[in-house]
């Protein structure tokens, strides 16, 4: 029993850092409506800066000063990020802002790698709190007790700041209606910069406080942003007390899972300690299904500034069609050049698969209006499906290629059923949760999926087992897939889906069952993503949980956003650009992430409509001139 109580105390200590990071994220989201992907990176910066400072400044005062300094420094960096980057893109579509913050993740990660190196850095213990106290006959670190106190203290301070100062009143007003606030004479740029700085500072403090507990490492950004997302969503977007309660719940559930360890239920043995990787996402999924706006949140009103309506999709013009045909024809003769460019075929297969994956994501994101953050789940289900159908069921490649998309589609039937009940950021977070659940199953089910090692030796059937044949197989399947996806958008189903995106109420009122349409769209997108996954696994010959990771989902998002969400050619252009960039950049420098991030930032700032959107706008702009010239 005493071990259980101590484990609960452990959970409380963990909750404090979690709360600090999540509170900052929630605050920033409330005012700017930006889901700051880089928040975990700010947390990581907090740890590293505190490390460097405390190594330089000896003594007790030095250590505590380092923590405070680190929080302030990260707050300053946050303010800079807001002023230099985000301020320029507040009017861009929501997803573009997300893309920009994701690019920051890449840049900051490589910045940290460059400054501090790849080794884990073990920080000092907190002077004065190195020891432990005896609680119920067990030793409990004094520093953890200090952490337990810090959480509520910060909660109280932030709460006082928000409710007892004019600044806080303005921040809460801005959370609700920024346009009205400006019409009342409030200049908001400094207000928003301030909120961003405060949010970043909390993240930095959360990181700095963690230094005596775990070594600074480069994986901290993604781990903490995942946790923080979950806490914010469970607590309710924009609610600080909600973030506190959610942080407690999640930290405690994790602590209990560790305490339970392996438990036998008759013949079955469940390893609860392994569940820690996924349990928070399970909690989030349950909360979102039962209370879609989180424990302390409120249903989101329709946003005041919904921006310009989406332009209708247009069928391809004659020139674009000929261009597509020429492109496919051009690709078809590629194998003839194999002598000069041996690498071209391998890269082309990657590009084609990426294009199909991105197009399937675009299908629900652009015309469907549902932003999936866990699309890798279906790619991975298709890939693992194909691999396991071959390895475990002994099916040939042909059958596996047909059945794997069905497996992914079935996954989408289940995930989609829950997801379409939500919308906006909440839907995105639930898809992220499902993606993580799928990933952790593949990662931990050693006997079936091979665990972290994955599966190897998944090669195509004899006739397709050479570069040229497999390239042609991929080319045909991808072109058919892309054409089918495109065709569906101009079918009655596609119209109904776009109607549902533009106005759920109006679409409902003319007899469209919007939820059913969206569910079906999820399944279709899942099937095609699964096909991409199946093609992928046979092109590589092996598979690992990597294909299910958040990074893979984000890759898809970046491709779609890069190309432009509301253009049909967008995902293809984006997939090709992204995959090619990743391939080239990765081979030319150690800091490929920073370079990639820099390129993404450049593109976001220069082409806020996406590449294909930009080209489209350019053509439209040039057209009247051409006619006038005649």
């Amino acid at each position: 029993m005493s071990s259980f109580l101590v484990q609960l105390l452990n959970g409380l200590a963990g909750a404090s850092s979690l709360f600090l990071v999540a509170a900052g994220l929630s605050l920033i989201f409330g005012v700017t409506r930006i889901v700051n992907f880089a928040h975990g990176s700010l947390y990581m910066l907090g740890v590293y800066i505190a490390y460097s400072m405390s190594e330089r400044l000896a003594g007790g005062v030095g250590f505590w000063f380092s923590l405070v300094f680190s929080a302030l420094a990260v707050g300053f960096i946050g303010a800079l990020i807001e002023m230099v980057l985000l301020r320029r893109i507040y009017k861009a579509p929501e997803l573009f802002q997300l893309l920009a913050t994701f690019a920051l993740v890449l840049v900051i990660k490589d910045g940290v790698l460059w400054i501090w190196g790849a080794e884990d850095l073990l920080g000092r213990r907190a002077p004065g709190l190195e020891g432990s106290v005896e609680i119920l006959g067990r030793n409990f670190p004094t520093y953890d007790l200090f952490l337990i106190v810090i959480g509520p203290v910060v909660l109280a301070l932030v709460w006082l700041l928000l409710t007892r100062t004019r600044w806080g009143t303005l921040v809460r007003a801005a959370t609700q209606d920024r346009e009205m606030l400006s019409a009342l004479g409030v200049h908001q740029s400094w207000l928003i910069t301030g909120v961003f700085a405060l949010g970043a500072m909390l993240a930095g403090l959360g990181g700095a406080l963690q230094l005596p507990r775990e070594p600074a490492n480069l994986g901290m950004d993604m781990l903490s942003i995942g946790d923080a997302f979950v806490v914010v969503v469970v607590g309710g977007m924009g609610s600080i007390p909600g973030a506190f309660v959610a942080a407690l719940i999640i930290a405690e559930i994790k602590a209990i899972c560790i305490w339970l360890g392996d438990v036998n239920f008759g013949p079955f043995s469940i390893s609860f300690s392994k569940l820690t990787l996924v349990v928070e996402f399970l909690v989030m999924a349950v909360v979102l299904v039962v209370r879609p706006w989180g424990l302390f949140g409120r249903p989101q009103g329709t946003p005041r500034h919904s921006g310009a309506p989406e332009a209708p999709l247009r069928p391809a013009g004659k020139s674009l069609r000929w261009f597509a045909v020429a492109l496919v024809a051009g690709m078809a003769v590629l194998p003839l050049l194999q002598g000069q460019f041996p690498y071209a075929l391998v890269l082309s297969v990657d590009l084609l698969i990426a294009a199909l994956f991105a197009a399937s994501l675009h299908f629900i994101m652009g015309p469907g209006g549902m932003h999936s953050f866990g699309h890798a789940a279906y790619f991975g289900l298709g890939a693992y499906g194909a691999a396991l159908l071959m390895k475990a069921a002994g099916l040939p490649m042909e059958a596996a290629l047909i059945l794997a998309p069905v497996v992914a589609g079935l996954g989408a039937v289940v995930f989609g059923w829950f997801s379409v009940r939500l919308s906006g950021v909440y839907l995105a977070m639930l898809t992220l949760a499902f993606g993580q659940i799928a990933w952790s199953i593949a990662f931990q089910w050693d006997d079936f999926t091979g665990g972290s090692n994955g599966l190897i030796g998944i090669w195509p059937s004899g006739w397709a087992n050479n570069r040229t044949a497999y390239f042609y197989l991929t080319l045909v399947l991808v072109v058919v897939g892309l054409f089918a996806l495109r065709r569906m958008l101009f079918s009655p189903f596609g119209y109904a889906m776009r109607a549902g995106r533009d106005s759920v109420l109006r679409a409902d009122a003319i007899g469209i069952d919007v939820k059913r349409i969206q569910w079906l769209a999820f399944v279709i997108a899942g099937v095609f993503a699964g096909a991409a996954g199946a093609l992928f696994v046979y092109s590589k010959g092996s598979i690992s949980p990597e294909v299910l990771s958040v990074t893979k989902s984000v890759d898809g998002l970046v491709m779609v956003l890069l190309g432009g969400v509301q253009t049909l050619a967008g995902p293809i252009v984006g997939a090709v650009t992204f995959t090619w960039l990743q391939d080239t950049v990765a081979r030319s420098t150690d800091y490929w992430r920073a370079l990639l991030g820099g390129i993404i930032l450049f593109l976001v700032l220069v082409f806020p409509q996406g590449l294909a959107g930009f080209i489209h706008d350019l053509v439209v702009k040039l057209k009247p001139n051409r006619e006038a010239a005649r």
């Binding site: 007003a173 609700q176 009205m180 009342l184």
Partner: protein
Amino acid sequence: MIHREPPPTLLTVEGLNAWYGAAHILFDVGFEVKRGEVVALMGRNGAGKSTTFKTLMGLLERRKGTVKLMGQDISGRSPSQIARMGLGFVPEDRRIFTDLTIAENLEVGRQAARRWPDDSPAPEWTPQKLYDLFPNLKEMGPDRLGGRMSGGEQQMLTVSRTLMGNPYLVLLDEPSEGVAPVIVEQMAHMILALKSQGVSILLSEQNVHFAELVSDRAYVLEKGQIRFSGTMAELAANEEVRRSYLTV
């Protein structure tokens, strides 16, 4: 007898055009409001009244034309700058901060006191004065949440919130829209009370009777163009204009 100067012009609008996206809504709208006046901008639903107000406040991205507030050009400025120069805006849908209390809503609108160009003080408002003007707000107490108020009460709060900025001129969008008849009467009293305290008001209105109760002059807007301008008595006498542009 002392020769009195005609009251100076507060707001001059010339050649105002505005667009929602690609849709052209206002066409060369022009009018003026003098200090101490209550002027009604009249017209049916969709005539462009609210659009005019939003354009004056700088809330529409695409706009053209000159807007001068006390001689200063405000046409290219941001909403917050315009509000800071003394133009108050009461939106038709009220837009109360429902998560904030009455006192906090007032605090959000607070700006420093102003002076007229001749250095005499412009109307200055405090929560206390506003509670006296709107006893309903006082009764509910400063800690009532904006979301827990009726439509009429919110209407009073939104007017009070704008007055906290001590504006030279208040743009009052459809004050009689969507509130109970007894509140409409209160709104009329309020407008007259404000006028007596030296507040100038430009209000948009569909209801001729309401406008006649409170206004000195009127402009009639239809399809984004000014079709009539004159005193309320002239409007009352002009059956033609009333039938063509106002009655439903």
